[in-house]
Amino acid sequence: MATMNMLQAINNALDIAMAEDEKVICFGEDVGIFGGVFRATSHLQEKYGKARCFNTPLVEQGIIGFANGLAAQGSVPVAEIQFADYIFPAFDQIVNETAKFRYRSGDLFNVGGLTIRTPYGGGISGGLYHSQSPEAYFTHTPGLKVVVPRNPYQAKGLLLAAIRDPDPVLFLEPKRLYRAAVGEVPDEDYQLPIGEAEVIKEGTDITLVGWGAQMEVISKAAELAEEQGIACEVIDLRSLLPWDVDTVAESVFKTGRMIVSHEAPLTGGFAGEIAATIQERCFLYLESPITRVTGLDTPFPLVLEKEYLPDHLKIFEAICESVNF
């Protein structure tokens, strides 16, 4: 065991993957000698050479187009998009190419080796273009897997699983926690399952669902609720596509209440998908409406970021309303 922050855990996972399999190749803007603007790829070029860890020109559609071809060839690319806000030039390559490669060829070809890493989320005074949470654009795309870790331990285990997964994975890294989240991480190689949620706290009164950086906020709200005698069950989805309906439904059968929270805007957000699915599964068990606590339907603000974000107080209020419905 070592104490690592999330960046160190990610770097460690990449190091393990590259040492184990020479087909693993890391690239993106500033990923080479500089080690990425957040340093997630530090020292990888020194260790594995310029052919396997390198800078690309500044062209996201090119990075993912290149990565698709490289994966189709049989390599295992780990492509970095410097900020999730800048993934959109690559949207066509991801949605029309990555996601459909296996299906459209009848499994003659696939890009299952591909992992796309990208930092997402707010809370860093990043304004419109360094704060977005674009997960819902991608969860609407069959053929992709979408994974979000909440802490260093999860980040290492899920990233290793993503790199070795037979399907392409979009790995969204909560950049607010890159250095803020510190924890015990095993030195050795391990994987955490993709597609399985984790119940991180058991409770009987209400189910709180989220992923990534929002888990810290949700847990804080749960503590406030506990002080009021409300026992919250907290679930980290970890994987949004596919997502673990059974674990969430089991919880709601028990609690009869659910809140889903994410930073992304309300309308069309992934919370809507979870709410719709759970009301279908658990309709007769529900004691109150499923509530979404999310960002506003605005672009991501700067100065009023704190007001925009679905913080622990907004979630706590929603818990009280749900319980007193």
């Binding site: 190749i25 052919a51 396997r52 390198f54 690309t56 020109p57 062209v59 559609q61 090119g62 993912i64 187009g65 290149f66 990565a67 698709n68 071809g69 490289l70 994966a71 189709a72 060839q73 049989g74 390599s75 690319p77 030039p89 066509d92 390559q93 029309n96 190419e97 459909k100 296996r102 299906y103 459209r104 060829s105 009848g106 499994d107 003659l108 070809f109 696939n110 299952g112 069959p142 053929g143 897997k145 037979p166 399907d167 597609g195 596919p242 309906v245």
Partner: protein, 401 residues
């Protein structure tokens, strides 16, 4: 690079450079003075021409079949057979080809059978693509021909990535990607060429400049002298070639491959040709171009030019031509009849290959669908057919894809 300062402003437009067109055969199939015949063997030259001819005939018959309502959609390679087959013939058969959609000639050259073409066109149970894509979206793993995808230019940066992997593998292979002059306007084109030059990738970018992107003439696609000058901006080898001259295309591509594989450098080839047919079966060029223009290009038919050259060499005869045409037409008709009758892919193919393994959520959706189809089988004849367990699903077998 050393900066050279001048003290009077001087603007450049690119007109300072002129890019010539490499051509070996005149329309009568004779070598131009000063041109050298490439070292093509008799068998290789015949294989090249026969693929051109087979493509022409397949295209004619399938467009007719589309007009008869037997096929939903079709696209012809007509007029560009020399460009496409000439390029394929210059590659190693294990080099990867990543095409746009009008390059069935390259696949024909590699040995895709008429049966295989037909199964894709009719999307039957033997289609490697499992009936998921519109006609002409072929692919073959064994022939190193990447499955076609409709979005334009997406294959170009993929070719750069694929070839980067080939370079690391060190087996001496390269990738050739085809695209039209219209697709070269997409951002993916720029991304691909720049990355290939920066990372020294063994990839050949083969532009078929056929004059039109559906109805838009190349004069409305770019202001510069075609696509070739763009290579300068990336510091890339480039050659422009007469796309109706199979020998010139072959030789240009052969040398490009040498540069790619031996120097790990990308090459851009611009083949000047003309889309003699409509963009697709859904298009009618009479609304946007003159018949006289088409006639002028028809006179430069790439098949005739190659055929004449072969005849002069004594490698092809009128008798062979007639016999080959006759046998190809018969084969196309017979295989079409067979392909039409084969059942559609089974209902399960709706959800397979989305992921490596079917997810529980997808299985649940399929189960729901099956229950629904059992209630209304007449509304879903294809799906109902594969639900009927008394019908055998595999009537024929096909080899490796």
């Amino acid at each position: 690079m050393m900066t050279q300062y001048v003290h009077q402003p001087a603007f450049m437009t690119g007109d300072e450079f002129s890019i010539e067109t490499f051509s070996l055969l005149n329309p009568d199939g004779e070598l131009y003075p000063g041109g050298e015949e490439p070292a093509l063997t008799r068998d290789h030259a015949r294989r090249l021409y026969q693929a051109m001819l087979a493509t022409r005939i397949l295209d004619e018959r399938m467009m007719a079949a589309q007009r008869q309502g037997r096929l939903s959609f079709y696209m012809q390679c007509t007029g560009e057979e020399a460009a496409v087959v000439g390029a394929a013939a210059a590659l190693d058969d294990a080099d990867m080809i990543m095409a746009q959609y009008r390059e069935q000639g390259a696949l024909m050259y590699r040995g895709f059978s008429i049966d295989e073409f037909m199964n894709q066109l009719f999307g039957n149970e033997l289609d490697y693509g499992k009936g998921r894509q519109m006609p002409i979206h072929y692919g073959s793993r064994k022939l190193h021909y990447m499955t076609i995808s409709s979005p334009l230019a997406t294959q170009i940066p993929q070719a750069t990535g694929y070839a980067y992997g080939q370079k690391l593998a060190g087996e001496g292979h390269c990738t050739l990607t085809f695209f039209g002059e219209g697709a070269a306007s997409e951002g993916d084109f720029h991304a691909a060429l720049n990355m290939a030059a920066v990372h020294q990738v063994p990839v050949i970018f083969f532009c078929r400049n056929n004059g039109y992107a559906i109805s838009t003439p190349s004069t409305e696609q770019f202001a510069a002298d075609g696509i070739a000058p763009r290579a300068f901006g990336y510091h890339m080898h480039v050659i422009r070639v007469d796309g109706n001259d199979a020998l010139a295309v072959y030789e240009a591509t052969r040398q490009a491959r040498k540069i790619a594989v031996e120097q790990n450098q990308p090459v851009l080839i611009e083949a000047m040709s003309y889309r003699l047919a409509a963009h697709s079966s859904s298009d009618d060029p009479s609304g946007y171009r003159a018949k006289s223009e088409e006639e002028a290009w028809r006179a430069k038919d790439p098949l005739l030019r190659m055929q004449r050259w072969l005849a002069k060499k004594g490698w092809w005869s009128d008798e062979e031509e007639a016999a080959q045409q006759e046998s190809l037409r018969r084969e196309v008709l017979e295989t079409m009849k067979r392909a039409e009758k084969r059942p559609p892919p089974p209902l399960e193919s709706l959800i397979s290959d989305v992921y490596a393994d079917v997810t529980p959520a997808l299985q649940h959706q399929l189960d729901q669908l099956k229950r629904h189809i059992r209630r209304y089988p007449d509304a879903y004849p294809r799906g109902a057919k594969s639900l009927d367990l008394t019908l055998s699903s595999a009537t024929d077998t096909q080899g490796e894809a």
